[in-house]
């Protein structure tokens, strides 16, 4: 009975925690610019992240190690420094984008301009990290994140052409504006396959003391939770495809986001988008700040744990403090959260193999996993998708920049 509850909770939190500024805006941009044609990018990204999350949970449950922990141990500091630095840099940009998302929601709700919110947002995020336990952060914020289901309800109300949505699941070549098509596809992939998500998940499994009896639960949580999360992203894409695409509206400002639900729910729709954006970005902010702090603390062997008091893991606690402060500076400087999101999501995609390849080597190491190493399917899916995302990213980012 306890297991059933835990599985339900795990699924609910993955659904509530799936959407954040990255998936909302990239899905909206995909739908607005290309109708249903880019549904495949969400599907492919979701399959990849589901596999990665399952692997991260299995790895932690069997080896009793988090991913950075084992990476340092297995490959040594000289190699580990590469994923450490790359993931640190990219995740910091994502963190700044998420905090910008909260500030954007607050700006739309109050009319007070975005940079003013940098410090209050930073303080609230920091206060939660400083005082709350791991389960409060993971479960509490993710439960509130269920407000994002509003997107699915809204999309269903519009009676989309389900056949066309299904056809969009098959990857197709662009019919027009090829550069932008691939760039948006890459951003969607980067938003779905966020490395912080599976790194965070592996630390969570250690914080919650998982063992091999959790393997079945882990598979269900990863599979069902991520699928529902991807389903919500598709809902956002469908909304944009129906409401924005026919009118030739591109999503270039976060102020356009409420337009995803206001035609359906009126004023309530406005508040649903604000709440979704604010809560989802707050959840992601906490998870990313922790994920980066975990990465550094585990790589260097510090004492760490969100359930410890800050005085018992001073370096860990001060690391996430500095991260939140640094990310708040981006918001304070008035960097546009939407542009930051696009840049950070495409960089995430382009840098995927840096974190994914060493992780796959660990997942095939009998010393860590005994009889629970990866099968061929898992290896192939993750390898092919992350390579695809990286190649597309490396090619399309410069082209998009050149093309403005």
């Amino acid at each position: 009975m306890k297991k059933v509850l835990q599985i339900t909770l795990g699924i609910v939190t993955s659904v509530g925690g799936f959407l954040e500024i990255g998936s909302i805006t990239t899905a909206a941009q995909a739908g607005a610019s290309f109708g249903y044609q880019l549904v495949w990018a969400i599907v492919v990204g979701t399959i990849c992240i589901a596999f990665l999350v399952e692997m991260a949970g299995r790895f932690a449950a069997v080896s009793k190690r988090t991913i950075p922990d084992a990476m340092r141990e297995r490959f040594g500091i000289n190699f580990f420094a590469v994923p450490l630095v790359v993931m640190f840099a990219v995740s910091l940009l994502v963190l700044a984008a998420e905090m910008g998302g909260i500030a954007a929601a607050l700006e739309m709700a109050t009319g007070i301009s975005l940079p003013v919110w940098a410090i209050p947002v930073g303080l609230v995020a920091w206060g939660l990290l400083w005082r709350a336990t791991f389960s409060v952060i993971e479960n509490g914020v993710s439960f509130l994140g269920l407000v994002t289901i509003a997107f699915a309800v809204g999309a269903a109300r519009l009676h989309p052409d389900y056949g066309a949505v299904l056809r969009g699941m098959a990857p197709t070549l662009p019919r027009s504006n090829a550069t932008h098509y691939w760039f948006v596809a890459v951003s969607v992939l980067g938003a779905s396959i966020s490395p912080y998500l599976y790194y965070f998940y592996s630390s969570g499994a250690i914080e919650e003391k998982w063992d091999v009896t959790y393997l079945a639960a882990n598979r269900l949580i990863a599979g069902i939770g991520m699928s529902f999360g991807g389903f919500l992203s598709v809902a956002v894409l469908v909304l944009a495809a129906i409401l924005f695409h026919p009118r030739g509206v591109d999503v270039q400002h976060y102020q356009q986001l409420p337009g995803l639900l206001t035609p359906i729910f009126g004023r309530a729709g406005f508040w649903l988008v604000i709440a979704s954006l604010g809560v989802a970005c707050l959840g992601a902010t906490l998870e990313i700040a922790l994920a980066i702090a975990y990465l550094i603390a585990q790589g260097l062997g510090w004492n760490w744990g969100e359930d410890l008091e800050p005085r018992d893991d001073a370096r860990f606690a001060l690391t996430y403090t500095l991260l939140v402060a640094a990310a708040a500076l981006f918001v304070l400087a008035g960097v546009d959260p939407l542009e930051l999101t696009q840049i950070s999501m495409s960089l995430t995609a382009a840098s995927l193999p840096v974190g994914v390849f060493p992780f796959l080597i660990l997942m095939n190491d009998k010393k860590y996993l005994g009889g629970h190493t990866n099968g061929y399917a898992g290896n192939a899916v993750v390898l092919v998708i992350s390579l695809l995302a990286a190649v597309l990213g490396v090619v399309s980012i410069p082209l998009e920049i050149v093309g403005g």
């Binding site: 009793k64 190690r65 922990d69 340092r72 141990e73 040594g76 500091i77 000289n78 580990f80 420094a81 206060g127 400083w130 005082r131 260097l300 062997g301 510090w302 004492n303 760490w304 008091e309 800050p310 005085r311 893991d313 001073a314 370096r315 606690a317 001060l318």
Partner: protein
């Protein structure tokens, strides 16, 4: 025992069960006519940085030296006080009695304890 694969970069845990850094370096003792043996493990930024760049390590050591006696050189733990198991290298000592937690303690006393809610 394969030193690089099995000891280097392992997690260190002290006798109170706290994570106390990683094995950043291994010191071998060369003996006449006998095989070398492990004398110490080293922990801390000076040793870690030396694995990337000696100059960087020297620069850090000079800075570290200002913080008191015994600082500015890599911290060594005699191999006899280390036992290895599947998950970690375990010390038979309290890491509080070593420089391993020096920075941690300094940050706690000077910053963390002055912040609200700590």
């Amino acid at each position: 025992m394969h030193l690089v694969a099995e000891v280097l970069d392992e997690q260190i845990v002290d006798n109170k069960g706290r994570r106390a850094g990683r094995v950043d370096g291994i010191v071998l003792e060369l003996r006449d006519g006998k095989p070398p043996r492990v004398a110490y493990i080293e922990v801390g930024p000076i040793t870690l940085l030396a694995r990337f760049n000696r100059r960087l390590a020297r620069w850090y050591a000079r800075w570290d030296e200002r913080f008191g006696e015994g600082r500015g050189v890599p911290f060594r733990i005699p191999w006899t006080r280390v036992t290895r198991d599947r998950d970690a290298c375990r010390l038979d000592m309290d890491a509080d009695a070593t420089p391993i937690f020096a920075l941690e303690d300094w940050l706690r006393r000077h910053i963390v304890e002055h912040l609200p809610g700590a």
